[in-house]
C-alpha cells in the first residue's frame, strides 16, 4: 500500500455521499466538525487579539487530570461528571498560571509551560496508575476521534428522535458562547484592545477576562472528544489568524471564521477519506494548507503585498 493513494475523484468526493446511510453518518461528522470550528473560532478570535493563543494549548492540556479524577470519583465516563471535572481543572490551570505570573517573578510563558505540563503529567499518571483497561486513553484525548461521533447515544424526547447527543452538547455550547459574544461584543472588543479605555468607561475588565477564560475552558472541553487536545489549538488560532490577512476589523474576522470553519471541515473530511488517516488531523492540516496562501497572498499584510509595497 503506497503512502499516498491515487487520487480518485469518485472515491473521495462522491462515494461518502452515495447512499442514505452513508449520508446520515457522514453528515453527523461534518456538522460536529463545523460546530467545533465555529465555537473555537469565536473564542479564538478574542484569544488571539489578547495575545493568549497558547492559553488554549495550556488549558486543553490542563484538563486531563480533571477528566481522570472525574472518572475515578464517579466511576463512569458520563458526560456530566467529565464536563464538570474538566472545567474545574481548566479553571484551576488558568488560575495557577495567573497566580504564578502575578505573585512571583516567574514570567508568563514559563509559568504557562510549567503549569500545563505538570497538570498533563498528573493526568497521565492518574490514568495509567489507576486503571489499565478503561477507554479513557491518553492518546485518544490527544487525537480525538471525530469519526466515532455518530456512535454516540441518541437523544429522544417523548418518542421523537432528536439526533446525536455529542452534536447536541456541542450545539448547546456553541449557542451559549455565540449568544454571549453577541450580547457582550462591545465589552469584549474594548477590553481586548484597550484595557485603560475599558476601565474608564466602566467595563468590568476582570469579569470579562474570567468569562472569556470560562468560555475557553468550555469550548476546549466540548471540542476535546471530537478533535483532541492539540488540534483544539489549531481551531483556536487558524481561523482568526487566516482572516486577519483579509480584514482589519474584528467583527469581519469573527464572521469570516464561519465560512472558514465550513471549508476546514469539508476539506479535512475528504482529505481524510483520501489518505485514510485521522479526520481531526486532516481538518487541522486543511487549516494549515489554507493558511499558507492567505499568509503569502493576503491583501492585508500578506508577504507578497508587503514585498510589492516595499
Amino acid at each position: 500500500m503506497p503512502l499516498i493513494p491515487t487520487f480518485d475523484f469518485y472515491q473521495i468526493f462522491l462515494q461518502p455521499w452515495s447512499t442514505p446511510q452513508l449520508v446520515s453518518w457522514n453528515l453527523q461528522i461534518i456538522i460536529m466538525g463545523i460546530l467545533v470550528c465555529w465555537t473555537c473560532g469565536l473564542v479564538g478570535s478574542f484569544i488571539v487579539v489578547r495575545r493568549m493563543a497558547l492559553m488554549g494549548d495550556a488549558i486543553s492540556h490542563g484538563i486531563l487530570p480533571g477528566l481522570a479524577l472525574a472518572f475515578i470519583i464517579s466511576g463512569s465516563l458520563g458526560i456530566g461528571a467529565m464536563f464538570i471535572g474538566a472545567c474545574l481543572a481548566g479553571l484551576a490551570c488558568n488560575f495557577c498560571i495567573e497566580w504564578l505570573h502575578s505573585n512571583t517573578k516567574i514570567r508568563e510563558d514559563a509559568a504557562m509551560g510549567l503549569v500545563f505540563t505538570s497538570f498533563f503529567a498528573l493526568g497521565v499518571t492518574l490514568i495509567s496508575g489507576h486503571t489499565g483497561n478503561i477507554d479513557l486513553d491518553p492518546s485518544c484525548i490527544l487525537y480525538g476521534e471525530i469519526g466515532l461521533v455518530p456512535l454516540a447515544e441518541k437523544v429522544e424526547m417523548s418518542g421523537i428522535f432528536l439526533g446525536n447527543r455529542a452534536i447536541w452538547v456541542m450545539g448547546v455550547v456553541f449557542m451559549c458562547i455565540g449568544t454571549g459574544t453577541f450580547i457582550f461584543y462591545r465589552q469584549l472588543l474594548v477590553s481586548s484592545f484597550d484595557i485603560t479605555l475599558a476601565k474608564s468607561i466602566g467595563i468590568p475588565v476582570k469579569a470579562v477576562h474570567i468569562c472569556l477564560m470560562l468560555a475557553l475552558a468550555l469550548a476546549t472541553v466540548a471540542s476535546l472528544e471530537a478533535v483532541g487536545v492539540i488540534l483544539v489549538v489549531a481551531m483556536f488560532v487558524f481561523p482568526s489568524v487566516t482572516a486577519s490577512f483579509f480584514f482589519n476589523r474584528l467583527l469581519y474576522v469573527l464572521l469570516f471564521s464561519f465560512p472558514l470553519g465550513v471549508l476546514y471541515t469539508l476539506g479535512g473530511f475528504h482529505l481524510a477519506h483520501w489518505l485514510d488517516c485521522s479526520i481531526a488531523g486532516a481538518i487541522a492540516v486543511t487549516a494549515t494548507l489554507l493558511f499558507i496562501p492567505a499568509c503569502l497572498l493576503g491583501p492585508k499584510g500578506g508577504v507578497c503585498s508587503r514585498f510589492i509595497k516595499s
Binding site: 500500500m1 503512502l3 488571539v48 495575545r51 493568549m52 493563543a53 497558547l54 494549548d57 492540556h61 512571583t104 516567574i106 514570567r107 510563558d109 514559563a110 509559568a111 504557562m112 509551560g113 510549567l114 505540563t117 505538570s118 498533563f120 503529567a121 498528573l122 497521565v124 499518571t125 495509567s128 496508575g129 489499565g132 491518553p138 492518546s139 490527544l142 487525537y143 483532541g228 492539540i230 488540534l231 489549538v233 489549531a234 483556536f236 488560532v237 487558524f238 489568524v241 486577519s244 481524510a272 489518505l275 485514510d276 488517516c277 485521522s278 481531526a280 488531523g281 486532516a282 481538518i283 487541522a284 492540516v285 487549516a287 494549515t288 493558511f291 499568509c295 499584510g301 508577504v303 508587503r306
Partner: protein
C-alpha cells in the same frame, strides 16, 4: 577566562559519578527476582544490578542534566513555549523518518526529527519577520500545524503493513523502559555538545542573553549563537523523546530552570542548580516508576520536578510562601505581645505605680477582649518570660482571678513600647504640627517598628522630653528602673 575555570570543576564533579556507572552497564544481568516486595525493589534499584535499571536511571539523570543546562537559557531568554512548540514540531519528522527507514531506526528518526525541528524554527522566524502575526499566535500555528501533519502521518503509518508493530505511540508519552544503549549514547553526545558549547561560549551567551544589541555592537555573533542554541535545543528535545515523549519534553526544559531561578541569581550557579535539579528529578522519577511497576517514567519525572518546584516556592529562605507566612505570623504575635505589655503598663500607671501587680480582669477590660483571648495573651507573655502569673488567694479556681506582675525584662520592654508611642505622639504634635487628638492611631502603628537609633534621634530632636502631649510621662532610659517612676 576565570568564569569557565570556576565552572568546569563543578561540571566534572557532576559528570564523574555518572560516567563511572557506564562500565557496569555490561555486567551480566541479574536474574529477575520473583519478589513483589517494595523493599526488594528499592534495594535492587540502588544496587543498580539490573541492566535496564542502570540504563533508565542513567538516561533519566543525563537527560535531566542536559535539559537543565539548556533550559536555563530557554527560561532566561523567554523561549519556554518555543521549546514546547519545537517538541511538537518534530513529530512529522519522526513519522517521515519512520516511513523512510520502514522501521524504528534511530538514525533515520533523528535525521527526520532534526529536519522537522529546523523547518519549524524557520517557519516561526519567517512568520515573525515577514507578517504581522504576533509571537504567541505564530507559536500556536507552527505547533498545531506541524502536530496535525504528524498525527495524520502517524495514523496513516498505523494502517500500512509495516506500521502495525511500530510502537510510534511511545514517542507521544515516552517509553523509558525501551531505552537502549544507543539512545544512551545519543543523550551522552547531546550532553557533551551542550556542555562544550556552554563552556566555550559562556560569557558570550551571558551578554547576548541580557543585552542583544550591546553584544552585537561589540562584535559577538549574537544571531549565530542563537541559532546554535536552537539547534542544541532541538537535539535536546529529540534525545529526550524516548524517555519523556513529545508532549512533556518541554517540561524538563522549563521546570528545573524555573525552580533554580527562584533560588539563585548568578548565571553560573543557576546553570549548576538547574542541572542538579534536573538530574535529581530524573533519578527520582526513574526510581518511582521502577517502584510502582507499569507507571510511566516521563510523567513521573515531570511530577517530581513540579513537586520540587512547589516545595521550593513554599520554603525558599526569604520569600517562600510558608516562610513568609511564618514571619508574618511571628510579627503578628510580637505586636500582640507588645500591645498586652503596653496595657499592663497603662494599668500600673493608672494606679500611680502604687501596686506591683494587676488583676487579670483589669487587663481584660483594658484590652477589650474576652477571657479566653486574654488568657492566651497572658500565656504568651508568661512563655516569653515577660510576666509572672500567680493565682489570687481567695478563689483560685475562678477564671480571671489571677494576678500578674511584670518581670524586670517585661518592665523594660513595656517601658520601651510606651516610650516609642509617646515620643512619636510628641514628635507629631511638636514637629509635624498635628492636633494632639489626631496622633494616637499613627503612634499605635509605628510603636512596633521604631528602632533604637530612631528613638535616640527623636529624643535629640525633641530635647529629651519628659511629658507627652497628653501630659503623661515618657519613660526614658534612666526611668526604666521601676523605683524612679514610683518616685515621680
Amino acid at each position: 577566562m576565570p568564569v569557565i575555570l570556576r565552572i568546569w570543576p563543578c561540571l566534572v564533579f557532576l559528570f564523574t559519578p555518572l560516567c563511572s556507572m557506564v562500565p557496569t552497564l555490561d555486567a551480566k544481568q541479574v536474574e529477575m527476582l520473583e519478589d513483589d516486595q517494595v523493599w526488594g525493589r528499592v534495594t535492587r534499584f540502588f544496587l543498580l544490578q539490573d541492566t535496564s535499571v542502570q540504563i533508565v536511571a542513567l538516561g533519566s539523570a543525563l537527560i535531566g542534566i542536559t535539559c537543565g543546562l539548556i533550559g536555563s537559557y530557554v527560561v532566561t531568554r523567554r523561549l519556554s513555549l518555543f521549546g514546547d512548540t519545537l517538541s511538537h514540531a518534530v513529530l512529522p519528522g519522526i513519522a517521515v523518518g519512520f516511513i523512510w527507514a520502514e522501521s524504528k531506526d534511530n538514525i533515520a528518526l533523528l535525521i527526520g526529527a532534526t529536519a522537522a525541528g529546523f523547518l519549524g524554527v524557520s517557519c516561526l522566524t519567517f512568520l515573525q519577520k515577514y507578517t504581522h502575526i504576533r509571537q504567541d499566535s505564530a507559536l500556536g500555528i507552527v505547533l498545531s500545524g506541524f502536530y496535525a501533519v504528524g498525527i495524520c502521518l502517524l495514523t496513516r503509518i498505523q494502517k500500512m503493513e509495516f506500521g502495525s508493530q511500530s510502537g510510534l505511540d511511545s514517542f507521544l508519552f515516552g517509553q523509558a523502559s525501551a531505552l537502549s544503549i544507543e539512545d544512551l549514547w545519543g543523550i551522552g553526545c547531546t550532553l557533551l555538545m551542550v556542555g562544550l558549547f556552554i563552556l566555550f561560549a559562556y560569557k558570550k551567551l551571558l551578554i547576548t542573553g541580557f543585552d542583544h544589541s550591546f553584544s552585537r555592537s561589540i562584535g559577538i555573533p549574537a544571531d549565530f549563537l542563537q541559532y546554535v542554541l536552537w539547534l542544541l535545543l532541538a537535539f535536546c528535545v529529540i534525545s529526550s523523546l524516548q524517555i519523556i515523549g513529545v508532549i512533556l519534553a518541554s517540561a524538563l526544559l522549563i521546570i528545573p530552570a524555573v525552580t533554580a531561578s527562584l533560588l539563585v541569581k548568578r548565571m553560573h550557579t543557576y546553570l549548576l542548580v538547574s542541572a542538579a535539579l534536573g538530574a535529581a528529578a530524573g533519578l527520582a522519577g526513574s526510581f518511582l516508576s521502577f517502584l510502582g511497576q507499569g507507571m510511566p517514567t516521563g510523567p513521573l519525572i515531570v511530577l517530581i520536578s513540579t513537586g520540587i518546584f512547589i516545595s521550593v516556592l513554599c520554603l525558599r529562605p526569604t520569600n517562600g510562601l510558608l516562610t513568609q507566612w511564618y514571619f508574618s505570623r511571628k510579627n503578628t504575635l510580637r505586636i500582640q505581645r507588645e500591645n498586652t505589655l503596653k496595657a499592663v503598663y497603662q494599668i500600673l500607671e493608672s494606679h500611680n505605680f502604687q501596686n506591683q501587680t494587676i488583676r487579670t480582669q483589669e487587663l481584660m477590660s483594658k484590652r477589650g477582649v474576652d477571657i479566653v483571648h486574654c488568657e492566651m495573651e497572658i500565656q504568651q507573655l508568661v512563655r516569653t518570660g515577660l510576666v509572672t502569673q500567680a493565682p489570687t488567694v481567695p478563689s483560685p479556681s475562678l477564671p480571671g482571678q489571677s494576678t500578674l506582675s511584670l518581670t524586670p525584662k517585661g518592665w523594660e520592654y513595656a517601658c520601651k513600647i510606651v516610650r516609642n508611642h509617646r515620643l512619636w505622639e510628641l514628635y507629631l504634635t511638636n514637629e509635624a504640627k498635628y492636633a494632639p487628638d489626631h496622633v494616637h492611631e499613627d503612634a499605635e502603628k509605628i510603636e512596633h517598628v521604631l528602632g533604637e537609633d530612631t528613638i535616640r534621634q527623636l529624643e535629640r530632636i525633641l530635647s529629651n522630653p519628659r511629658k507627652d502631649p497628653h501630659g503623661k510621662l515618657i519613660p526614658s532610659l534612666t526611668d526604666m528602673e521601676m523605683g524612679n517612676i514610683q518616685n515621680i
